[in-house]
Symmetry: none
Amino acid sequence: MSSTTAPLTASRPLRKDAARNRELLIAAAREVFAKRGLEASLDEVARHAGVGVGTAYRHFANKYELVSALMSNAVDDMVADAERALAAEDPWLGLVGFLEAALADQSEDRGLREALMGVHDTEKLEQVHDRLVGPITEILRRAQRAGVVRADAEPTDIGFIITMACAVADVASDCAPQLWRRYLAMCLEGLKPGGATLPAAALTEREFRDAMATHKQALARGSSIS
Amino acid sequence: MSSTTAPLTASRPLRKDAARNRELLIAAAREVFAKRGLEASLDEVARHAGVGVGTAYRHFANKYELVSALMSNAVDDMVADAERALAAEDPWLGLVGFLEAALADQSEDRGLREALMGVHDTEKLEQVHDRLVGPITEILRRAQRAGVVRADAEPTDIGFIITMACAVADVASDCAPQLWRRYLAMCLEGLKPGGATLPAAALTEREFRDAMATHKQALARGSSIS
Amino acid sequence: MSSTTAPLTASRPLRKDAARNRELLIAAAREVFAKRGLEASLDEVARHAGVGVGTAYRHFANKYELVSALMSNAVDDMVADAERALAAEDPWLGLVGFLEAALADQSEDRGLREALMGVHDTEKLEQVHDRLVGPITEILRRAQRAGVVRADAEPTDIGFIITMACAVADVASDCAPQLWRRYLAMCLEGLKPGGATLPAAALTEREFRDAMATHKQALARGSSIS
Amino acid sequence: MSSTTAPLTASRPLRKDAARNRELLIAAAREVFAKRGLEASLDEVARHAGVGVGTAYRHFANKYELVSALMSNAVDDMVADAERALAAEDPWLGLVGFLEAALADQSEDRGLREALMGVHDTEKLEQVHDRLVGPITEILRRAQRAGVVRADAEPTDIGFIITMACAVADVASDCAPQLWRRYLAMCLEGLKPGGATLPAAALTEREFRDAMATHKQALARGSSIS
DNA sequence: TATGAATGAGAGTTCATTCAT
DNA sequence: AATGAATGAACTCTCATTCAT
């Protein structure tokens, strides 16, 4: 009856605006996926968020888009972590600090790990990489210039070190939530100068992206995320 | 030693055609699971093998049993790898050789990686561990006695190094099938004596088993492999 | 009493279309199960109702829940029958009327007979018995007080008389839909005072419930209704 | 080598002749079906008999034929029971004795009950009836001539009384194996002269056969016994 | 002839996605 | 815009029956 959008009657539920529902869904998805992995159903996410599934599909074209949004948030965090790392005085501690910060998040979130290991959309993947490649490259190069990281290390190595530590977290997060730190430390030894020659070349940024994209498509085929 | 053609396995000799189908199924399963992971359906495996689903279920009580058979084969191979490693003169090269051999297999087989990372049956898991723990411990201890591996390394570290290299293979196997070698080399640097103190204790053998078992159960809940 | 159109059932009001489909499903289930017994598939019930299987599973968690809903309706009817019987002036005619009314329903519905003979869920069974035991006991005791039923009859005898008449209906309902009346009459002769001593004690209410529950479990093992 | 059929070498298994296997299968089927009902699989029966399924299908065209053979045996027993009943001096005790003997068998054999309630083959059914109708009719008529059974009872009533007592046994055989005797006694009261008029005519022998046959076909449609 | 391996239709159930309300 | 009911393909597993050995 009124032209305002404010609720007039107490019995009519508040009209939640879209942004609020979007946040609710993302928060619910994070919680649900963190605990149960990406195989949790969208119904469960929606229920957790207190909205209908239909609403989820209004905000996200499909399950993957929702996962994607989660990833964007995680990437935001990683970018922030990276900026903090660049602000650190010691380049080595900066690198280590970045990895620890990024992994501290991921080690607690199964859904995030699965999402980062299995991005299902090339375009999205490009965006993620576009945002991270600069900071990560700078963190690494700075450490190399300081002589604390071997010269043949490449930015994609950082990506795979994260991948590896995530794998440990995947297996051990319930029993030993901090175990990934042990293996991150081992990998970091391998990053220090003076080690043996590495038997295979690092991927270029381009190859890394393609690898990720191919991997996802392999995952997507036959997976519930299509 | 015997002149009979009886199968070497202790169980009842399989009829010729049945044995053939069993092999067809295992081969098909390996191929299908290698490419698409364990979430591929048994129908697809059977189709790939050129047999009906029913046949698959005659040979393997359920999907997991089939995966389990695949794993048994893989564990056989790993045990053989481990024995070769112990026969090597140089303890370090033995250790490295074992890891490279084991990973060369797994890097090409996504299903195998998923199976080993996600054994869904506690009993089977125990069997796998029972067979591998001895040889792996001996490989490691020998290298430690020779002073080429840091003293605080534990057998479970070998397990997690395999886990990590598999994670790399998971992502990159299509584009860069040998990339895992780069990161295995990095990890091996971390295994050499003289590195920084590791920030978290290795799991004991028992904890490792429990971690694996818990991980599986988490995976199994809601997964197609129940 | 209220002017709202809210449903009388205490649970959340179903959306109009959903309520319609629920009714369609129940009607279809009654028809299909009535004709073909409980072994008819849910796909067939859904097809008969003109909805997808998924819809059936939205309304009923599993096949048994659907059967259960059917049973609840039938028990409602039986309770109503029992109340009418208690309102009858002649205690004997009340008893007979109750049995005839109850059996008139069941004789036409094979699914209902199977459901009542084979309740697969202990809790549900308890509910059914809880609702029926009072009225039936009262009907019987009133007739006994009036001296028209033998003193050693027990409420569980009523249950078994229904069981027996149902068995006749099971066999003969197609060819002779009223034949059960003949054998109900025979059983009723056995209920009248003055007959020979009965060679086995009636079950107590507790034993009757346990018998039913055990029977169901035997049926359920290996049956499609688990 | 020898022209005898006796085994010559200890290692070669005795050549079981067909008759022996047939008996083994029937015995196994009786046991298995008695315990688990007709839904037990033929594989299980064959395993129990120590032969292959193929052998079962050599002797019986399908599952139903095997059940049918079981029934034949049971009918043999019933015919023998009937003959003993006719030899009894007291016509009433003869009738009662026949029913008790027949039911004592059936009450212990779930498969037999299911088979008799659900004969799936018209021809077989005819055979069963052909063999039983004479003796049963004679038992009944003799009792009627002696004035101990009501004049409007028909041979098919005997069939349905068995049906009814079987239904009781079906439900209660685990908890109260003798309970059917109570309800048989009640039915027998209804058979005695002097009761109320029965509200529906007994089936004729022809109708009884048709009822059974129709019933079976209904059961068979959609049932595992096709 | 006996065997048991192979078959494949069909059952119950789940869930990403669509669409009427 | 929000809801959640509806959809139907897909998955695992069973078993009566057939057929190669």
